[in-house]
Symmetry: C2
Subunit: 92 residues, 2 copies
């Protein structure tokens, strides 16, 4: 699953670089898809990817702040990037 | 797993864009990692990612040809990109 997700996401980003939009689809009837494309039973269908020229350019959706999703040293200890990275590097 | 793999791979690519090398690590003692970072039991540790400035720049590893891994319409029918895409588009 992870290997495939990595490969699919590279397709997503390569498509985006060419102005194409995609939509990850993880919820589908695996047996039906297998029949449709004639894939053998021993293969697992991990994902479908819709691909096309986007009709709209929606603004980026809100994201959680980094301090809420990134921790430093210990789980729960919010990671805050140094305000000025150069300052941080010259502590000696 | 897929959501996390996507997020981690974006970190991999962002790191690469800054000249940093990474190594996906999927094989580890989950309980030990959880203890080390103090993560609660209800969270699954999906991956570790080693990050650093690369000491070497190995040449790209050999890749399977596209015709071996990409099929068109049906599983097993090798996808060969058209030699001249413009020709292909002007069939009318
Ligand atoms: C692993 C994965 C599976 C998804 N499966 C579906 C799906 O079955 N149907 C669907 O409409 N969208 C699916 N999506 C798309 C999401 O609903 C969402 O539109 C997309 O991740 C973009 O949202 P974001 O801008 O908040 O990242 C999936 C996304 C991911 C990452
Ligand atoms: C999901 C995943 C898990 C991995 N787990 C490990 C690991 O546990 N230990 C390790 O040394 N490398 C691990 N790797 C790294 C691979 O062994 C390999 O070095 C990397 O994918 C680059 O190889 P490539 O150039 O052929 O793509 C993992 C890679 C992926 C994608």
């Amino acid at each position: 699953d992870k290997d495939t997700a990595i490969a699919v996401e590279h397709i997503v980003l390569a498509a985006a670089a060419k102005g194409l939009g995609t939509c990850w689809i993880g919820s589908f009837n695996e047996q039906k898809v297998r029949e449709l494309v004639g894939a053998p039973e021993h293969l697992q269908v991990v994902a479908l990817l819709a691909l096309g020229y986007p009709a709209e350019e929606p603004p980026p959706r809100p994201r959680k702040p980094l301090t809420e999703i990134a921790f430093i040293e210990k789980y729960g200890q919010p990671f805050a990037p140094p305000a000025d990275p150069r300052k941080d590097r010259c502590k000696s």
